[in-house]
């Protein structure tokens, strides 16, 4: 009797996971009605599995929350860095003005670490976008560009999600649209979406060079070293790329 019950107990997991044949289900369910001990054992088994599920879910939730907290901390630090970077040039301006008065201003112009600036704070500002002012007449698109230029990336993405841009406008500003979209993803640390979006800009598009550079920054930030190096190589192969020198420098550094 004990032996035959053990035979049924061994089937519990398959039964609960729906992996038992119809005949076996029928046999087990008949045994459950015949043997109260077996029914009790099934109840205990279900309770144990439920407790394990609850515990597993708690652990998974805790790990997600931890990662979100870390992400927020990083973003907060970035904002503080950005603020600090605004203060430093202001400070430098004041100091250099003073020094101009005494004839030493030139000495201070070399202090700013260009690489760091490029890596952390560079954004394609509206003035970067190549000559289509007259085309950007659509109010929505203009507003979005304004948000982007204000570095309100979350709001930019939010607006795009809630009020998608008309396809005709996307078509018209294809490169610009995907560049701003991709950079906003990058700035909000959604690296996977950023790369996917920036990749949409073809090599013959006017914004390709910038998209390529932001893919590099994105790969660097996401820790994808292979992609980072691969994309740097692409820039190196393009001598007229606006970050050709920096790419060379970074690749030799890494």
């Amino acid at each position: 009797m004990k032996e035959s019950l053990a035979k049924y107990i061994a089937l519990f997991d398959q039964y609960l996971d729906g992996n038992l044949s119809l005949d076996a289900i029928h046999g087990l369910e008949e045994a459950l009605t015949l043997y109260p001990n077996l029914a009790r054992a099934l109840e205990e088994h279900i309770d144990a599995r439920r407790a394990l599920r609850v515990e597993g879910e708690q652990q998974l939730k805790a790990s997600f929350k931890h990662r979100l907290e870390e992400r927020d901390k990083r973003r907060k630090n970035n904002i503080e860095q950005k603020k600090a970077s605004r203060v430093i040039p202001l400070y430098l301006k004041m100091v250099s003005s003073l020094l101009i008065l005494i004839g030493c201003a030139v000495f201070f112009t070399q202090i700013v670490n260009k690489d760091k600036e490029i890596e952390s704070f560079e954004d394609p500002s509206i003035s970067y976008f190549r000559g289509n002012d007259s085309d950007v007449a659509e109010d929505d698109w203009k507003e979005l560009l304004h948000l982007f230029s204000e570095k309100a990336y979350d709001e930019f993405l939010d607006r795009l999600a809630n009020h998608p841009i008309e396809s005709s406008i996307i078509k018209k500003h294809y490169g610009q649209y995907h560049l701003t979209h991709g950079v906003s993803y990058y700035r909000t640390e959604q690296y996977n979406l950023a790369d996917k979006t920036l990749q949409k800009i073809p090599s013959d598009n006017a914004y390709y060079d910038q998209a390529l550079w932001f893919r590099i920054l994105n790969a660097k930030a996401s820790g994808n070293q292979d992609l980072f190096k691969e994309l740097l190589q692409l820039v190196i192969k393009t001598p007229d790329h606006y970050h050709h020198k920096t790419a060379k420098k970074w690749l030799t550094k890494k």
Binding site: I46, R49, E57, Q58, Q59, F64, E69, R71, Q190, N192
Partner: protein, 193 residues
């Protein structure tokens, strides 16, 4: 960790059901893929960042549970389905703030459909706290083995490697002993005779 792959809805469902490292990888992917929703919900429902983060983590866990229980029927895109879960969770968070009701405890302890169908259980006997205490009693090594098996869905061979056990057989034997131990603890604390 960077997430470089793109998965279709059906791939996501399959990988969650497969369990093991594929499941861990897809949980990571889901986490990364919907981060944009946090800001959206935060603005729409006027949540604090902490509340929105809490709801996001909770909603991801619920999404995985729904997929495992075959409750996602594919009538909408998975991302749309997730957003509805997330939105409802945010509303629950707000409601919890006003009524001080422990919504998540009730939610997490609910039996899955299969569990309900099987036993027709109506009452919830435990609290999350009680489950946690029971888990604590079985000890870390047992807990790891049991969670790897029951929640993460690793195979016995993988469990043997993850817990530095000699073989698949010893993993199976350990799992059996640990499960027995857990059942005994639960029987005692739930007051079964």
């Amino acid at each position: 960790m960077a997430v470089d792959n793109n998965y279709s809805d059906s791939e996501i469902i399959q990988l969650i059901k497969n369990g093991g490292s594929a499941f861990e990888q897809i949980a990571e992917y889901l986490f990364e893929s919907h981060l944009g929703y946090i800001h959206k919900a935060k603005k729409q429902l006027n949540l604090s960042l902490e509340q929105a983060n809490d709801a996001y983590a909770d909603a991801l866990v619920k999404l995985i549970r729904q997929i495992r229980n075959d409750r996602f029927l594919g009538e909408s895109k998975l991302s749309t389905y997730f957003y509805s879960i997330f939105h409802n969770t945010c509303v629950d968070v707000l409601r919890k703030e006003t009524t001080n009701l422990s919504y998540s405890s009730l939610n997490e302890l609910a039996y899955s459909k299969k569990e309900k169908d099987l036993l027709n259980l109506i009452e919830l006997k435990d609290s999350v706290k009680q489950v946690k205490a029971q888990m604590h009693q079985i000890g870390e090594p047992c807990k790891k083995i049991l969670l790897d098996w029951a929640y993460w869905g690793y195979s016995m061979r993988e469990i043997a490697v993850r817990s530095s056990l000699a073989s698949e057989e010893s993993a199976r034997s350990m799992k059996y002993k640990c499960l027995k131990k857990l059942k005994a603890i639960m029987t005692t604390s739930n007051g079964y005779t």
